[in-house]
Symmetry: C2
Subunit: 395 residues, 2 copies
């Protein structure tokens, strides 16, 4: 029982942490529950008074399947579901009518062929990346509705009435979801994407600043720079940027479905965010390589360290500040004023480094020991270039 208790405590703590990390999760759960309860009770009462039972199931089903975390995803699924049902319903009625011309024996065969052909082509169309990204769910519903209408249509005489009834319940279900998700504490995919990109750039900035402060500090107590400290968490922040591509793409995709909200217009340039994200990832790859070099822990000869130390520190701290200014500019959607200043400073540092290296002569130096430090300096120069690209893409 003690073991069970500790496990239970762990689960409870995990749950609380999950809710505290993003309270919108709790709100989302309540919103789904509200939508489902509303639709269920509607169905319950309608069944009570009208005997309008079976079709009401589709309202419940629609709510459960369609309600997603972000507004964009919910709208995308609702609209996909609505239009696919309409289109497939019409096609299904047509196919069923056509099949009935072939007589009682021919009908099931013709219907079977129709279903087979349509299912095969539609399923194949889901492999097209564009359809996969935007209309995957619609195609699924299309196949589903078409086969249900063609097959069940034969038995149920009141086909049109049924279609009307079902479409109505889907509209009720989908509409409830859309209204609740848009008007009750909405979670906008566009805003999430916006924040994600800004926070990713900020994470890079933090890592760079921390890196500059830690490894290229002015030597004191005879302790030379470029010594790895304990693995600080703020230095590791950039790691989550490395694998952010999938999240960014799906958010951008959902954002395209969202109406005007807050500071975002209807056709906000979401693709621009993907470009920024790609550049930020590029930068993160370089920081990752940098990190690998630092942890290899080679003693750099002091005379060489002296040459590169100041400019490397400036490069990494100023680039960090520039990125931070850019992140703030993205967040507030204002012109990044200070970013250019900081970028200029880090570019000057690059020039300083180059002049210092040109002037230096290392007659008796241990070249082997210089190489890793040279690599660090060189990668930093590349990072400055990357930051410049990010800055350009923000404007």
């Amino acid at each position: 029982p003690g073991k069970f208790n500790t496990k239970a405590v762990k689960v409870v703590k995990g749950t609380i942490k999950l809710g505290r990390d993003d309270p919108r999760r709790v709100i989302h759960s309540l919103k789904v529950a509200l939508a489902l309860t509303l639709v269920s009770l509607l169905y319950y009462w309608r069944a009570l008074f009208d005997g309008f039972g079976v079709a009401g199931i589709w309202a419940v089903l629609t709510v459960v399947v369609v309600f997603e975390f972000t507004v964009g995803a919910t709208l995308s699924k609702s609209l996909n579901r609505g239009f696919a049902t309409l289109l497939a319903g019409a096609l299904g009625v047509g196919a069923q009518h056509l099949a009935s011309l072939f007589g009682e024996k021919g009908e099931p065969i013709v219907l079977g062929i129709f279903v087979f052909l349509l299912a095969a082509t539609s399923t194949f169309s889901r492999f097209f990346p564009r359809i996969k990204a935007r209309y995957d769910y619609g195609v699924l519903i299309f196949i589903l509705t078409f086969s249900m209408v063609t097959i069940s249509g034969y038995r149920v005489e009141e086909l049109l009435e049924m279609a009307h009834e079902r479409l109505l319940t889907i509209i009720i279900g989908g509409g409830t979801c859309m209204i609740i998700s848009v008007f009750l504490c909405p979670v906008w995919a566009g805003e999430d994407l916006h924040k994600l990109i800004a926070s990713n750039i900020e994470k890079l900035a933090n890592s760079l600043e921390g890196f500059g402060g830690e490894y290229f500090q002015t030597p004191k107590n005879g302790n030379c720079g470029m010594v790895p400290k304990n693995e600080d968490s703020f230095l590791q922040g950039y790691k989550s940027v490395l694998n952010s591509k999938t999240t960014e793409e799906s958010l951008a995709n959902f954002a395209a479905w969202e109406p005007r909200h807050g500071r975002f217009k209807f056709r906000h340039p979401w693709k621009q965010y993907l470009k920024m994200g790609a550049l930020a990832r590029q930068c993160a790859y370089q920081i990752e390589t940098l990190n690998g070099h630092i942890n290899s822990n080679v003693q750099v000869p002091p005379e060489f360290l002296q040459i590169i130390q100041d400019s490397c520190r400036t490069m990494s701290i100023e680039t960090g500040k520039a990125l931070k200014a850019l992140a703030i500019a993205i967040k507030t959607m204002k012109e990044p004023k200070h970013a250019c200043e900081h970028l200029e400073k880090s570019k000057t540092a690059v020039k300083d480094l180059k002049t210092a290296l040109k002037a230096a002569s290392l007659e008796n130096a241990d070249i082997l020991a210089i190489v890793p430090a040279a690599a660090v300096a060189s990668i930093l120069v590349e990072i400055v270039k990357g930051a410049e690209k990010i800055s350009k893409s923000v404007h």
Copy 2:
């Protein structure tokens, strides 16, 4: 019309390419169509003879929603659907019975509260990463079935009979999917993961080998090494490795649902593949940084190039060969014999480089021009270390 024609030609070409790139896509589409047609016709005939109409819809629905590209995904969804329906059905009957004790007026209120509580907690549980990864679809079906049973249960007197009927149709639908996906040209997620990891490592190998051959070639015609050539596609192969994390994780997740097949046992260590994948990605980040350095196109002083050229070429080509041997070893699931040889050679090259650098003296050299080359050499040394880690993880 000309414009329309070119567009149509484009779409047709795209379709053919999609099918040719992976013929299993065409086969998958046919498999889905077959399963759907079988189930539809079954439903059609049963409706004809038994008047067993409405429930048959659930078989069609199950097939459309559950049939996925890989066996693992199909099994995972089918089993999730089956067990969730069973569990939620039982709970729903209990809840409905409990609610009926509250009298005619209290019942809808109590039912509403039940649905609300269950929907809220279940939706929240979908945010747990572990549940999200393996049981997301099951939780969805759980909410769906529970609300449908509690709400509709009140009206339909023959609740148990209906539950029995519906479960039967779901089993027919899910069973058809499972049988067709396992026995008709199966696409195993595990095998795909296996191949993906091997091909990723091979891509890294190709990039490294190409890199060694291109940039560190023995100078001829007075043309010095380290000059970027045109962007060769085989050098760019590693780029797809950078973002493979999501694909790898979902494949590993589906692979865990698959039974024994081919050379893979039931509990094959799929997590090991994720580790290899992570190490390969690490390596790809470094190659990406390397690539950035090479394209910056700085003229390296010949006297320094001479020192590093030979060992750098050996490092990159031999590491490439070692990775290729590892990729083949993964593919054939045999001990990688030649990999160790090649790794040893590249480690010797690292040592050679170090001795050469130690012995070198660069009195009048332009240190600024040396730095990028030094960075390249240093990154290559890190790549060799990375390849060693991959080699260890393969064993």
